[in-house]
């Protein structure tokens, strides 16, 4: 689990995304129990209702499921589902902002492609 850092996003969204990221990185495995809302609340010093809100979003999406009296577990296929959704959002999350910024700086698409293929910044003078 990472630290809660930014103020830009709602805390429960951050909780949701942290659990997702832990699943993507195999820190949380499928069919494994995830920390309870009370554990999350104490760890991050947040209200348990807020932690529950984040966890419940993952239940709604089928990423987590509830075992009565035991807790929340990572569903089978959760990792694939998260990957699929994050891929779908990849353009909006990462590319769109980059294109807007590049356009206002006068960086061309060719420059961008060059940066991506060489994995190096563009050193030329403007």
């Amino acid at each position: 689990m990472q630290e809660l850092l930014n103020q830009e996003k709602s805390i429960y969204i951050q909780i949701k995304e942290m659990i997702e990221t832990d699943i993507l990185r195999d820190i949380l495995l499928e069919e494994e129990r995830v920390p309870s809302t009370n554990e999350l609340a104490k760890l991050y010093a947040i209200n348990p209702a807020t932690a529950a809100k984040g966890v419940n979003l993952l239940v709604d999406e089928g990423i987590l499921y509830k075992k009565r009296g035991i807790g929340m577990f990572v569903a089978e296929g959760a990792k694939k589902t998260i990957q699929k959704r994050r891929r779908e959002n990849f353009f909006e999350t990462y590319i769109q902002g980059m294109l807007t910024e590049a356009a206002s700086l006068g960086i061309t698409k060719e420059d961008l492609i060059d940066m991506i293929t060489t994995e190096r910044g563009n050193q030329q003078e403007v």
Binding site: E8, A41, A45, I46, A49
Partner: protein, 291 residues
């Protein structure tokens, strides 16, 4: 279990401190009570715990008046700031005597917990309260509040004078106790931002009235700071509930509070940003002094 307060008013001589408070406090929630100095927070908490009579209105626990109702009051404890000046009740007492006193009048007192927390905070039981630092006095207040085990526990400025490590320790202890017991806590504080995530609901008390009582996360989600080109911003915020619009050259900014179901979508030349609880409080309760 719930506490209900109906049109509660309080006058001190001619001054009206509370101007008609309607409030419901439910079991199993942590509330943040936020207001400026003199807003009436301490008065409200003392009336909600029948330490002080209301001039008008009713305070009910599950429908029954709490005033002079020992059974109802056994569920409510108000940990007010311990005053250490020489003429106060607590002044001559040692820490252990103060705890002993709490034990005699708090029916659900948890002695083991009081012991454990006293050690955790390194409070010297033999020390006189007048000799304690401000932070230590706050710790004592916290120990008594948590060990009271009251279903409704009110804490007035519990973190005042505490260093950041002790404050974090307090928030964790509070959450630990809360998750285990589902007691209700009402906490007043001026250190809004670091406690914001603890509060399920926030109550803004302003000039003796409740300005707002809302789920903290909903309030944050429904508050957006909009900035950008004046015309674009104006188009976007038209018809919305706006606060503190500011114009600087060609740019304009404002805080928008979205009503239920309202949405804002950013467009060209407009930036939307989230705001924190402290900022919302300053905008709503800052008034003329805000510069």
């Amino acid at each position: 279990m719930k506490i209900e307060c109906r049109d509660v008013r309080k006058n001190y001589k001619k001054k009206e401190v509370l101007k008609g408070i309607d409030l419901v406090l439910e079991k199993g929630k942590i509330y943040g009570l936020i207001g400026r100095n003199g807003a009436g927070k301490t008065t409200l908490l003392s009336i909600l715990s029948a330490q002080n009579p209301a001039s008008f209105g009713n305070i009910l626990l599950d429908g029954r008046e709490i005033w002079e109702n020992a059974e109802a009051l056994s569920h409510i404890y108000f940990a007010r700031e311990i005053i250490t000046s020489s003429n106060s009740n607590a002044s001559g007492l040692k820490v252990k005597e103060y705890l002993k006193l709490a034990e005699t009048y708090l029916p659900r007192w948890d002695k083991d917990m009081a012991q454990r927390l006293t050690e955790l905070f390194h409070l010297d039981r033999k020390q006189r309260i007048t000799k304690l630092s401000k932070g230590m006095v706050s710790m004592l207040q916290i120990v008594v509040a948590l060990a009271s085990k009251a279903d409704f526990t009110f804490l007035d400025e519990p973190v005042s004078g505490l260093d950041v490590v002790a404050r974090e320790a307090f928030y964790r202890l509070l959450l630990e106790e809360f998750t285990e017991t589902e007691r209700t806590f009402v906490i007043s504080t001026h250190i809004i931002e670091e406690a914001a995530d603890i509060f399920e609901e926030v109550i803004f008390l302003h000039e003796g009235k409740i300005l707002l009582k809302e789920n903290t996360q909903d309030l944050l989600e429904h508050s957006v700071y909009v900035s950008g080109k004046t015309e674009a911003v104006d188009r976007l915020i038209q018809g919305k509930q706006i606060y503190c619009p500011e114009v600087l050259g060609r740019s304009k900014s404002a805080l928008v509070r979205l009503r239920e179901g309202e949405r804002l979508s950013g467009g060209e030349g407009v930036t939307l940003q989230g705001v924190n609880l402290q900022k919302i409080f300053v905008v709503l309760c800052g008034g003329e002094e805000r510069v």
